[in-house]
Amino acid sequence: MGDAIRDDHGSAPFRVVIVGGGTAGWMSAAGIRRQLETQNYSVTLIESDEIGTVGVGEATLPHIKIFNDMLGLDEAQFMRATRATFKLGIQFRDWDQPGDCYIHPFGAFGEPWGGVEFQHHWLRGQREGHQRFSLQDFSYSVVAARNNAFEFPNEDRKSIRSTYSYAYHFDAGLYAAYLRSWAMERGVRRIEGQVCNVSRHPTTGDIKDLTLKSGEHVAGDLFIDCSGFRSLLLGSVMGVAWQDWTHWLPCDRALAVPCKRVGALTPYTRSTARPAGWIWRIPLQHRTGNGYIFSSRFINEGEARDTLLSNLDGAAQGEPRLLRFSPGRRERAWSGNCVAIGLASGFLEPLESTSIYLIQAAVTDLVNLMPRPRSAGVDARLVNEFNRLNEMQYERIRDFLILHYTANRRVGEPLWDYARSMPLPDSLVHKLQLFRSRAALPGHQYGLFARDSWLAVFVGQGIVATGYDRLADAFALSALDERLSEFRNRIQTNVDAMTSHGAFIANFAPAMELANSEAAVA
C-alpha cells in the first residue's frame, strides 16, 4: 500500500458509484466532490425519476450549517431555493400528558455558576421556594421561539445572544435538487436509470458492477447505497443483517400531507403526541408539512388518516401518502466495498430531526476513511472504524428518542401504556436514574445529544430530580435569587428587540416563486 500512494496522479481515478438520489445520495455526492480531488476520485450517481424519494418537509439540526458551509453554499440562496425557514428548536405538545408543552431548543439553559451546572441552581431555587419559574424561561432560544422571533446568533461569547444556534426547515426534495445542480456542475456524473442486476467478485464478494435496465454496465471501486428503505446493495446484495428496534420504538408507519400555510411563521418544528403516535408540523415558506407517525399495532391506517386530516392548520394539499418503515439499523453500515448512507443503513423516526444529521456524519466519516486512490481494495481497518462510529451515533440517538416515549403520563392509551412499561436499554436506565437522583446529565464528547438537550427532555417529560449537586448549596440563596431574576430579565430585554421570524425571512431569503408572485401583486 505504501508504494501505491507514491504517485496519485496520472492514472485512472478511484470510482465511487452512488445508487439512489434523494437527500442521502446528493449529500454524499456533493460531500465527496467537495472534499476529495477530482483526478483521484470519480463520482457517479444513479437515480431514477420513476422511484420516488421519501423526502418530505424536512427539519434539521444546526450541524447542517457546517455541511453547507463546507460546500460553500450561500445561505440566503440555499434558503430561497429550498423555501426554507429557520428553526430554533422543537415544540413538544401533549407528550408528557395532554395539555403539556415544552420546547427542546438548540441552546443553553441558564449559565453555570461557580463551576456548577445551571440545573442544580435552578432546582435549588425551586426547592427553597423563592423561584417558581419553569426551566424553559431560562433559555434564550425557547423565549425567542415562543415569540416567533428570529435573529442570527451573536458571536460575542459574553452576549446572551451567543447561547443558541439554529437549523432550518426545508423541502428535502428541493434540497436534493439544489445539491444535484451543485454537484453536477462540479463533475458528478448522473445516470438516469434503475439497477436490475449486481455482479460480485466470486472470491471477495465485493461488488464489481451494476447492470441498469437500459443494459448499461456501471463498474466501480466503492458503492454507496443510498437506495433508502430497500437497502438494495447493503441489505439485499451484501446480506448485512437488520437489527430491529421496534420493541423500543414501536411506530412503523407514517402518513404525510402538506397543507396551506396559515398564520405566523413559527421558528420551530412542532411534534404533538396522539393516542397511537405523534404528528409533526414543519413550517416552510410556501406550505406546512404534516405527518402522523404511528404504530400499526395500535391504530389502523384509516383512523390515522382521519386524525391527521382533522389536525391541520389549513387545507390539505392532496391525499396523505403512506410510508412503511421499521426502526433499527443494519448491523454494519459498511461491508466489503459497499457502504450504506441514509435510510439504507438504518431508520430512526424523525422525532428529533436526526435523519439528515446521520447522513452528514456518515459522509464526514466516509471521506476521512475513504480508501486511497489506486489502493488494492478496501482497508478492513478503516471499515471497522467507520462502523464503530456509525454504531455509536445510532445508539446514542436511539436512547434519546426512547426517553420521549417511556417518560409519559398518558395513562389509558395502549401505545403510551406500553412505552411506560417496556424494558429499556441499560444505557438509558442508567441515565434516567442519574437524573432522578441528582439531576446529573449524560456527558459524552462524541455524537448526539448534548447535556442541555437531555435536560430539556428530562424536565419536559416530567421527570423529577429528587436531588441536585451538593456544590450548589455552597452559594448564598439571596445571590441565587438575584442571578436567576437577572438572567430572565436579560433574556426578555434581548428577545423584545428581535425581529419576527416571518419578517426576517421575507427580508433575508424569500423563496424564489414567492418573491416573484409578491412582486407581481405589488
Partner: protein, 502 residues
C-alpha cells in the same frame, strides 16, 4: 443513619499526597455546603527527596484550592515540566530521541488538522520532525519556559506540569487542610467497624479512638487498607499488559541548568526517568524482576543517570485496577483504586480524576447506589483509556533487549488494538470517550517510536503542496521567534523566587 438525611460526615484515611489532595478537594468544595471532613493520617511512605511529576490539568484543581503557582513552586522546590524527552542510545536497535510535549503540535492548514499534512509531506520528503512543530517542545529543549500570550493561544495549547518534591508538596497540602479547619488525627493503623448492612460505621484508630462517618474514602495508596484489606474488593490484574514490576527510586545531583522537562532514558533492561527540580534530580528506574536483580538495577540506573545515586529505595509495582472503586460506603481514590505503570507519570492525574468525579457525584443523602454505579463505570472507563495509552508505548516500542522484546510480545486490550490498527492504516486516532491523553499525545508517541501510518485521510490531497510549504515555514519561523522571547527556565524560577526547601 437515616438514608434520607443529607450526607455530611466524610472520613478520609490515607497518607501523603493522596490523603491531602483528597481532603482539600472535598473540604474546599463541599465545606460551605455543610460537609464535614475528618482526616486520619497514616505514617508517610515517602523518601525525603522523592519527586512527583504532574500533568497540566492539576493547575485547575490547584486554583480551586486557592493554591498560587509561585507559592507552590517555592514550597516544593518545584520546577516546570513541558513534557517528556525520550532518549534511546545506540545498541538498542536504533538510536531515537523524541519529545512528548503537553502542548499542541503544529497548526491546522486550510481547515485540515496538522498531523495528516505533516504525514503526507514527510512521505514526499519533508525532513522536519513532528516535534519541531511543537512550540512547547522546542522551547523546553532550549531550556526555556513558554509563557502564553495571544499569539501562542491562537497557535494552540502550551500546557505544562510540575516536578515537585513530593514530601514538601504533601506537607504544603496538609497545612492548607489544617487552615480549612479539617480535623486531623494521626494514626499508626485503623480498624474497620461494619454495621449490620456491611457498610462501614466507624474507624477505630490505634485500638482506642472511634471515628464515625457516613462516607469513607480510602486514600491509603496501593495498600488499599479500607477497600482492599477490609472490604475485600479484589483487583483486576493488568500485569499481562505490562512488564515493569519493580521500580528503583533515588536522588541524583541537580543539573547545572534545570531542564524544564522529564527525561526518559531507555536502557536494554527497562528505562530510567530523570525528574529535575530545584532540590536535585529525582531518578526512577523501572524494570522487570524477571530479567534484573535490584543490585543490577542500581548499576543500570547509575549508568543511565550518569551520576552517583543517593537515597536509593525499591518498590514493587502491581499494575491493576480495583474491580469496584466504590463499594458500600467506601470510595477508593488514587493508588488504592488503580496502580498504573510508572512511565507517563499519571498517578496524580488519576487521583485528580477520582476526586473530580467524586465531587460531581457526591451523594446527596445516604441513598447513593446510583452515584456509586456511575462512579464505578466512569472511573473504570477513564482508567482503561490511560492504561491503553501506556500499553501502546510498550506495544510499539522498537528497542532491543529482553525487557522490550517481552513487552512487545504481550497482549493488548481490544480497544487499543483497534486504535493501533486505525493509526497504522491512516494516521487517525480513533476517538473514544474519557481520554486523558489528546490525539497530539498519541501521535507524538506513535511517531516518536517509529510507527509510520501507511496512508492519510484523502481529504488533505485537495490542499496544494505549496500551501504545506508556506504554512510549515510560517510555523517554524513563528516557533523560532516565540522561543527566543521566552525567559530561560532558571531565569523564570529566579524571578518567582527560589525555594527555601531547595
Amino acid at each position: 443513619m437515616s438514608t434520607r438525611q443529607l450526607l455530611s460526615r466524610v472520613v478520609v484515611m490515607g497518607r501523603d499526597v493522596d490523603l491531602w489532595l483528597c481532603v482539600n478537594a472535598i473540604s474546599r468544595a463541599l465545606g460551605p455546603a455543610g460537609v464535614n471532613v475528618t482526616a486520619i493520617e497514616l505514617p508517610t511512605r515517602l523518601r525525603p527527596f522523592e519527586v512527583s511529576a504532574t500533568l497540566p490539568p492539576l493547575e485547575a484543581l490547584h486554583s480551586k484550592l486557592g493554591i498560587k503557582e509561585p507559592t507552590l513552586i517555592r514550597a516544593t522546590a518545584g520546577s516546570f515540566s513541558f513534557g517528556q524527552n525520550f532518549v534511546a542510545g545506540f545498541g538498542l536497535g536504533r538510536p531515537l530521541n523524541f519529545f512528548h510535549a503537553w502542548g499542541a503540535y503544529g497548526a491546522g492548514i486550510d481547515g485540515s488538522a496538522f498531523f495528516p499534512c505533516w504525514l503526507k509531506a514527510t512521505r514526499y520528503g519533508l525532513k522536519v520532525s513532528f516535534q519541531d512543530f511543537c512550540l512547547t517542545a522546542v522551547a523546553a529543549k532550549n531550556g526555556r519556559m513558554l509563557l502564553p500570550d495571544e499569539a501562542t493561544a491562537a497557535f494552540g495549547r502550551t500546557d505544562y506540569g510540575y516536578h515537585v518534591r513530593t514530601m514538601a508538596y504533601a506537607g504544603y497540602l496538609k497545612s492548607i487542610a489544617a487552615n480549612l479547619g479539617v480535623k486531623i488525627y494521626q494514626a499508626q493503623k485503623g480498624l474497620v467497624e461494619r454495621d449490620e448492612t456491611g457498610s462501614i460505621a466507624a474507624l477505630i484508630i490505634d485500638g482506642s479512638l472511634r471515628i464515625e462517618g457516613q462516607l469513607f474514602v480510602d486514600a491509603t495508596g496501593p495498600d488499599a487498607i479500607l477497600i482492599g484489606r477490609s472490604l475485600d474488593v479484589p483487583s483486576d490484574d493488568w500485569r499481562q499488559y505490562f512488564s515493569v514490576d519493580r521500580v528503583l527510586a533515588a536522588r541524583a545531583p541537580a543539573f547545572t541548568k534545570t531542564p524544564p522537562f522529564a527525561e526518559i532514558r531507555i536502557t536494554g533492561v527497562g528505562w530510567t526517568a530523570l525528574h529535575p527540580n530545584q532540590a536535585g534530580t529525582g531518578v526512577r528506574h523501572a524494570y522487570s524482576s524477571e530479567f534484573l536483580s535490584d543490585e543490577a538495577a542500581l548499576e543500570s540506573a547509575s549508568a543511565a543517570a550518569d551520576a552517583k545515586l543517593a537515597d536509593v529505595s525499591f518498590r514493587t509495582v502491581t499494575t491493576s485496577v480495583r474491580s469496584r472503586v466504590w463499594e458500600g460506603n467506601c470510595v477508593a481514590v488514587g493508588g488504592s483504586a488503580c496502580v498504573f505503570d510508572p512511565i507517563h507519570d499519571v498517578d496524580l492525574h488519576a487521583l485528580q480524576l477520582g476526586l473530580v468525579h467524586l465531587l460531581s457525584l457526591f451523594p446527596v443523602t445516604g441513598q447513593f447506589a446510583v452515584e456509586r454505579a456511575e462512579y464505578n463505570r466512569i472511573m473504570r472507563s477513564h482508567y482503561e483509556r490511560i492504561r491503553d495509552f501506556q500499553c501502546a508505548f510498550y506495544a510499539v516500542a522498537p528497542f532491543g533487549g529482553q525487557f522490550w522484546q517481552q513487552a512487545r510480545g504481550r497482549s493488548v486490550p481490544q480497544t487499543l488494538a483497534h486504535k493501533i490498527a486505525t493509526f497504522r492504516a491512516c494516521g487517525q486516532i480513533a476517538p473514544m470517550e474519557d481520554e486523558t491523553f489528546s490525539p497530539d499525545s498519541w501521535q507524538a508517541i506513535f511517531v516518536g517510536l517509529g510507527v509510520v501510518p501507511e496512508s492519510w485521510p484523502p481529504t488533505i490531497d485537495r490542499i496544494p503542496p505549496h500551501r504545506f510549504n508556506e504554512e510549515f515555514h510560517r510555523t517554524i519561523e513563528f516557533i523560532k521567534g516565540k522561543v527566543l522571547e521566552q525567559p530561560t527556565h532558571d531565569g523564570y524560577l529566579d524571578s518567582i523566587g527560589r525555594s527555601s526547601a531547595a
